[in-house]
């Protein structure tokens, strides 16, 4: 009777269980362990016996994270960078999405293609390309020198500015696409109605277009904010030593210090921080679906 339905639900849940929950439990377990000079580099493990393993668990690593201000600063700095990048992505992405939605019908598939096109090359290569653009001898500096706008090359590489540029560039499609989807659905006659009722173009945009694309903006913000918060590649390639981000700290703990327990604790906290925006994002999507039905 309900077997079909049970299987239908069981399959995705089994998938989530195997690929998300179990790895998370393993990471969580490591975060409760101690550093050890062995393979794997922590103790206790299941080899020591289950009850002995549970007895040896403690919150030492979490206490360590709280006491060392490096981690606090890394979390806060990540939040700040993710937040500012998200705002920048809205400011850059909204006009682009608006332009796409207002473009002639026959142009839209091409424009959409151009937005998605960067995904066809490796993310790593694209970030490396920015090194070539932003470095002191890079394309941007050469171009500005040639134009005569500057006399000496600007230092952009290895600064937080480069990280912002990298994040906004990388995640811009995730901002543009949901906003475009919202604007594309927007009935042109609503704008005309607003003008007919006494709004100037600008006022109609503010009172009708913006509120009606709000869900797209919110969705885009989460899609940029969530991955930007844990971003590791961009700050390590473009940011230099001055940029503190939790993803980079996590990588260094794991691979440079080989301190798996502390690295796992960092990852667990990061996940807890991310749960808040993820839940908010889900709610936004759900509410939007309800309004549309």
């Amino acid at each position: 009777m309900n077997i079909r339905r049970f299987i239908l639900i069981a399959v995705p849940y089994a998938w989530l269980l195997a690929l998300f929950l179990i790895p998370f439990i393993i990471v969580f377990k490591i975060s409760l362990s101690d550093l050890a000079l062995s393979i794997p580099p922590y103790s206790p493990t299941a080899k020591d016996g289950i009850s002995a393993m549970f007895k040896a668990f403690d919150l030492e690593n979490f206490i360590f994270l709280a006491s060392d201000d490096l981690y606090w600063r890394a979390y806060l700095s990540s939040l700040k960078i993710a937040l500012i990048s998200t705002i920048l992505a809205v400011l850059v992405g909204y006009p682009m999405a608006y332009g796409m939605a207002r473009a002639p019908e026959e142009w839209r598939p091409t424009l959409m293609m151009l937005v998605i096109l960067p995904f066809w090359t490796s993310f790593l290569i694209r970030v490396y390309a920015w090194v070539g653009i932003l470095s002191n001898e890079g394309l941007l500096n050469q171009f500005l020198l040639w134009l005569g706008i500057i006399d000496a090359p600007l230092t952009i590489m290895n600064t937080t500015t480069a990280v912002y540029i990298g994040i906004v560039y990388t995640y811009l499609p995730f901002m543009i696409l949901p906003i475009y989807a919202a604007l594309d659905r927007l009935d042109e006659s609503l704008i005309e109605a607003a003008e007919d009722l006494g709004c100037s173009r600008l006022k109609a945009f503010w009172l009708v277009t913006i509120p009606l694309s709000r869900n797209g903006i919110i969705a885009g913000c989460f899609l940029v904010f969530i991955p930007a918060l844990g971003e590791f590649v961009i700050p390590s390639l473009l940011g230099g030593s001055g940029t503190l981000m939790i993803g980079k700290v996590l990588f260094e703990e794991f691979f440079n210090n080989r301190d798996w327990p502390v690295a796992s604790a960092v990852a667990v906290i990061l996940l807890l921080i991310l749960i808040v925006p993820i839940v908010l994002f889900q709610r936004n999507q759900q509410r939007q679906a309800e309004v549309e039905s």
């Binding site: 009935d187 006659s189 609503l190 005309e192 109605a193 607003a194 003008e195 007919d196 009722l197 006494g198 709004c199 100037s200 006022k203 009172l207 009708v208 509120p211 009606l212 709000r214 309004v291």
Partner: protein, 375 residues
């Protein structure tokens, strides 16, 4: 005893509220409106009627300010309104899709236009309540547009457009999305509201019945031009062309050539072996001029025996009978092959039908039943 008839278009001293003066509108190579002139008077309920693509929507969009004429001028209350943006015109529009703001409540939708002016909050609230009462929406004020029915949405759109008390209200296919029964009720509601507010209404529609019901005058359009402007009864009973006669209601068209037959009377030769048809006309026709006789089906009588009084009587056989409940339409094939529709009212409930398929019948009509047309 009788009320004065509302007919400002017959009064030469009356100033029109809207005047289209040789207006042409082109979109690229396409001529949407072709050198058109038209006057619409205050408090009129004016209908623009025509098939899709005839330019009626373009006319309305020019009045609203979304399009500007390529040539000629449009005057509103004596002032040329070309180039005045929509938000600066004392004109409001009710959109075909209603265009209600989905993120605002019914109350806020109606208040939207009022808030753009310099009204105080208290005055806005009073006006919104007034509009809610007029359109019987008071109960729904707090709801969002997706939480009410199609008919209610239509009334919100009307209330929102009327709230600013415009000089002119434009209605773009206002009842197109409603089902037939609701549409008929709403037509009368629209007329009541138009009468009680005294606002000039211009309605665009492709539904001739709707235009005939609500309008004080109807303009029948085709290919960017106005073919005839007249009151609904004139449009129906005295169309100026076969196009208008055919567009409004059901009609039989009999083509032939005319011969004079006395004072304002003509004979129409239509087929070789039948007697010419007698038709009265106040238009003058020259001898042997080609002409078309347009007769409405309900003006044609059908009988088994040859009628003696009628000026025109033709024999034929019944091809089809369409029973509509209140009416029956007989399709009668004449000797020459032409099919004429004759309509009778079913006034008695349990009468036996005396005429049935394949019967030989006579159809007849008087000399004044039809209209003789040049084109």
């Amino acid at each position: 005893m009788s009320q004065p008839v509302f007919a400002p278009w017959d009064d030469p001293n009356e100033k029109p509220l809207i005047r289209f003066d040789d207006v042409t509108k082109r979109f690229g190579d396409f001529v949407a409106i072709d050198n058109l002139s038209l006057s619409i008077y205050e408090s009129e309920f004016f209908a623009l009627l025509g098939p899709s693509g005839c330019g009626k929507t373009t006319m309305m969009r020019m009045l609203a300010g979304f399009e500007n004429p390529s040539a000629g001028k449009i005057e509103l209350a004596g002032k040329n309104i070309a180039g005045v943006p929509p938000n600066k015109r004392a004109v409001n529009m009710m959109f075909q899709s209603y265009a209600l703001f989905p993120h605002l409540s019914i109350w806020e939708n109606i208040a939207f236009g009022l808030k753009r002016g310099d009204m105080t909050k208290a005055d806005i609230a009073v006006r919104v309540e007034e509009m809610l009462k007029l359109t019987r929406l008071t109960k729904f004020a707090k709801r969002k547009p997706h939480q009410i029915s199609g008919g209610q949405r239509q009334r919100v759109a009307l209330a929102r457009a009327l709230a600013k008390a415009p000089k002119l209200l434009l209605l773009d296919e206002p009842l197109g999305a409603l089902d037939k029964k609701l549409r008929q009720d709403t037509q009368f509601e629209l007329m009541d509201i138009q009468e009680s507010t005294g606002t000039t209404f211009v309605i665009v529609t492709h539904d001739q019945e709707e235009a005939m019901t609500v309008a004080s005058r109807v303009a029948v359009m085709d290919e960017g031009q106005i073919i005839q402007v007249a009151t609904p009864d004139r449009i129906y009973e005295a169309p100026n062309s076969v196009y208008v006669a055919d567009f409004i209601g059901d009609v039989n068209i009999i083509s032939g050539t005319v011969k004079a037959a006395g004072d304002e009377m003509y004979h129409l030769d239509w087929v070789a072996n039948e007697a010419p048809l007698l038709a009265a006309s106040d238009r003058t026709f020259s001898e042997s001029q080609p002409a078309h006789l347009a007769i409405r089906p309900e003006k044609i009588a059908i009988s088994v025996d040859k009628p003696t009084e009628m000026k025109n009587a033709v024999q034929g056989t019944v091809l089809d009978i369409a029973y509509l409940g209140n009416l029956s339409t007989y399709h009668v094939q004449l000797g020459g092959g032409q099919v004429i529709k004759a309509q009778t009212a079913n006034t008695r409930r349990l009468s036996r039908r005396t005429i049935t398929w394949e019967d030989s019948v006579w159809i007849s009509w008087s000399a004044t039943a039809g209209v003789l047309l040049e084109r």
